[in-house]
Symmetry: C2
Subunit: 335 residues, 2 copies
């Protein structure tokens, strides 16, 4: 960590902007480029696009090959899609250029059992080019997988792991409120579920990471999703939910051994949740109950963990790694 990490921002949406803003403030990182395919962003200054006061003197390009051919880059912060199928061609291209990648593609957080072939292809190109790729974020990547795994260090035995994340969505940004179905009728909610647009991506990956870390063999992994219906009128920052309308979502992932539910991840986000918190319950010797009061703000934390992971990824052995394999990621603001 003696020299600065030269980084490119790939994807300048909400999360990518948060990552770029943070990395531009870090003294151990030098932001040297930015990529987005949006024609309205290409050619404009990154600082302007991500909502900074001043310019960053970095023009957004849509030509990845060109910028990587002419610029020395250590790492790419990749924030484009939740879907590994969508992201994989981008990742493979980046790795092929011999740059490390930290991606917030949720399905990359622990892709091995669900997407075996894509994982193997990504791992292969990373190793061939002697670089490392990590999928991370606050969830998946931390709250529902690496944090509970970390807490099992003090356990002589573990029987079950349960994690619950409850978020009051009232103060959150509108896209988040819409994403959880707030203001829909129950029928509209179901349609959004059926088309796959209303779903937190990552429960399956987090379950797989916990099971992988603990060397548990699961027989089945399931996910359910249902609306939280408002009992009374709820006012959000940008939206009002009437009684009987959907206030948000309750999504539960379950990992089963035989008929026994050994991993339970409960993602609850709705306007009017009386309290936000993140809790881990480990049943074992000893049992451990640990809670984050007020919960963790997703966007702020995801940007943090991506940027904090940068030097670990640069220093790591080549290949597709996950949070459970990397040495501890900590805040690197003072590095």
């Amino acid at each position: 960590m003696n020299k600065k990490i030269r980084a490119i921002q790939f994807g300048c949406g909400a999360i990518g902007s948060a990552v770029a803003k943070l990395s531009s403030r870090r003294s151990n990182i030098e932001l040297v480029g930015a990529v987005d395919i949006d024609k309205n962003k290409v050619g404009r200054d990154l600082g302007e696009i991500i909502g900074m006061d001043g310019k960053l003197s970095i023009l957004i390009t849509d030509d990845v090959d060109k910028i990587l051919a002419k610029t020395k880059v250590d790492i790419v912060f990749h924030q484009t899609s939740s879907s590994l199928k969508m992201a994989a061609p981008q990742l493979i291209k980046l790795l092929g250029h011999g740059v490390n990648v930290v991606s917030t593609t949720e399905e990359l957080a622990y892709p091995f059992p669900a997407q075996r072939e894509l994982s193997a292809a990504i791992d292969k190109v990373a190793k061939a080019n002697q670089v490392t790729v990590l999928g991370t974020g606050v969830n998946p990547g931390f709250l529902m997988d690496s944090w509970p795994l970390f807490m099992t260090a003090v356990c002589q035995d573990v029987e079950k792991v349960r994690v619950i994340r409850v978020q009051d969505a009232r103060p959150r940004r509108l896209p988040f409120q819409k994403k959880i179905g707030a203001g829909c009728t129950p029928n509209e909610f179901q349609k959004l579920v059926d088309t796959g647009t209303l779903r937190h991506v990552g429960l399956t990956e987090s379950i797989a990471m916990i099971a992988g870390g603990l060397h548990w063999k699961l027989d089945n992994v399931t996910e359910t999703i249902e609306p939280v219906i408002a009992k009374e009128k709820v006012q959000g920052s940008d939206i009002t939910v009437e009684p009987g309308q959907v206030a948000g979502v309750r999504q539960i992932g379950r990992g089963l051994r035989g008929n026994e539910e050994v991993i339970t991840l409960e993602f609850v986000a709705f306007l009017g949740a009386p309290e936000s918190y993140d809790s881990v319950y480990i049943t074992g010797i000893p049992s451990v109950e640990v809670s984050i009061r007020g919960g963790i703000h997703g966007d702020i934390a995801t940007a943090a963990i991506v940027v904090n992971a940068a030097h670990r990824v640069v220093e790591a052995p080549p290949g597709l790694l996950t949070m459970k394999d990397l040495p501890m990621v900590v805040c690197t603001a003072k590095v």
Copy 2:
């Protein structure tokens, strides 16, 4: 982790016994020897000494050189002394035999700033023999250092870290209650402090690990220790404390940058504490408040973390490592 880790138990006191009991139950570990200098233990069966129902067919020896010369050993669980000065000759001898070591010597958890020369000597012999040595335990090693560090992953910036560990000592074993001064007069307490026998060892090391992990330069580290005086009669498992007597201890370690207290570790253990808990308060972006309800039982957790760390230490690069540098230690009961 395809083959069993062959382990020797070095030190068969309270913690060593807990470690040996746990490692003897683990299918990924094969306990192949035991060492203690106590003449009352030498020649007797380890299972009997550590309070197991059956024998382990392992005779305790006081001849480390002999057992390591004739036995193939991957790792030694080392539980003898809090003091690095006391433990260092043992550690150097073990490492010289080319075996990895997980030690609960508190001052080894992060020894670099406080004991530079001893640390360098231990690191050197480990590297020369291509083996790894780790100092760990629940505290230091987890609750007041690696856990708060781990939680900073979600922070864009960190200004201060405060950890408080509160333990109601009523249900604990008598040696623990005596160690915290329970039942003493305030004068007797002060004498125990003055002779250095009443002191939780590790606050300085935990402060140094947090500062090291966050790349903070501290100007000063201080420790204070004071009695908690019983206001009313308190009944412990083996001891009764009268009003005006000492019920336990409050020890505070502080890490300062200039005059600013940026790290505060508060270790509180007394008979009659209304609640046991472990809490981390990170002041930053975002601030994080996280608590373990009921706290973590020290002996159970220390045995767990030592045995859980075994395969990480066997796989790690050579040298003197600390918890902040190792890939995540998790429960390995099902490995």
